[in-house]
């Protein structure tokens, strides 16, 4: 009996230790928006967290397409309140940023009143969780 109690305590300790040793920082960044009266705004969110959100509305992402007349990109987001916003750009500097995009990226883009992307930022950190299947 004594051995069983000691064994159980030891197992519990080891399990606790194992759990604390492997857990890193994790953050969820759902898709959020800041909307201005003139039509401009900003959307932020991690791809994984948006995919994993409890609602089936929110998403965020960007796309790039190249054609004979140049390259165009668009960033799109919908938040949990069903606000849907898009921006587009042909600015090579902004399009260059999108080359580093991964499925774990945190995306931050802004647009002006005409729908043009004025800023695109990406951040890829370990605490950005991957999207679940």
């Amino acid at each position: 009996m004594k051995y069983i109690i000691v064994g159980a305590a030891l197992s519990g300790f080891l399990l606790m230790g194992d759990g604390s040793a492997t857990a890193g920082r994790r953050s969820d960044f759902p898709t959020l928006m800041t909307l201005q009266p003139d039509g401009s705004g900003r959307a932020t969110g991690a791809l994984g967290a948006s995919r994993n959100s409890a609602n089936d509305l929110e998403y965020i992402g960007c796309e790039v397409a190249a054609g004979a007349e140049g390259t165009t990109a668009a960033c799109v987001a919908t938040d949990a309140a069903h606000n849907f916003r898009v921006c587009f750009t042909s600015d090579p500097a902004l399009i260059e940023v999108l080359k580093d995009m991964t499925s774990d990226a945190y995306v931050d883009f802004s647009w002006d009143a005409a729908g043009r992307c004025s800023r695109i930022g990406l951040a890829t950190y370990s605490f950005n969780g991957p999207g679940l299947p």
Binding site: Y59, G67, E69, F84, V86, C87, S90, W111, A113
Partner: protein, 178 residues
């Protein structure tokens, strides 16, 4: 400023300095004894630049007047030369800007680009009326923007995206407006 213009300006200034030194030397070489002991009244720099009104005050006055006239001539020559160089530069810049401006504003549209732009405009306008943006619209616009020039593409995408952002057009599918 080009090398040739710099050389021209430098040579003008060198001539001006040489003439000024010559004039100064000429003034120095007038024998002291010949110079009248005139106590010159204080003069402003403006009046000093003008030639003396008379030559009645002797050789020194003549030398001063000559010096003043020469200085004025040199100033005028240098000013003219600088104006000419700056004028040429401004004219060159103006011409270059005039040549660049239309190209930056609008690249000529090819016939296929014009047709694609017209079709895309009509599609966006129809979407405004129907308040819908279908997958077919997105596919068509994607093909169209690949052939139209940058200014048309910017204009049409701005019209579509700003209408979508105002909620005037609802896309049928997530993402992929074009």
């Amino acid at each position: 400023m080009t090398f040739a213009k710099r050389m021209r300006l430098s040579s003008t200034i060198a001539i001006a300095i040489a003439v000024a030194v010559g004039a100064f030397a000429a003034g120095r070489w007038i024998p002291r004894g010949d110079r009248p002991a005139v106590t010159a009244a204080p003069v402003s720099s403006q009046s000093a630049d003008r030639p003396a009104p008379t030559v009645s005050q002797g050789e020194r006055t003549v030398a001063r007047a000559l010096d003043s006239v020469q200085r004025e001539a040199i100033r005028r020559a240098v000013r003219d030369e600088v104006d000419a160089v700056l004028g040429e530069r401004d004219a060159a810049q103006g011409t270059a800007a005039a040549e660049v401006a239309p190209a930056a504003e609008r690249t000529p549209e090819s016939p296929s680009g014009e047709a694609a732009a017209a079709d895309a405009r009509a599609r966006v306008e129809a979407a405004r009326l129907s308040r819908r943006w279908t997958r077919e619209d997105a596919d068509a616009l994607r093909s169209a923007i690949a052939t139209m020039n940058a200014s048309d593409r910017d204009e049409i995408l701005s019209a579509l995206v700003s209408a979508v952002n105002r909620g005037e057009i609802q896309p049928d599918q997530a993402g992929f407006l074009f």
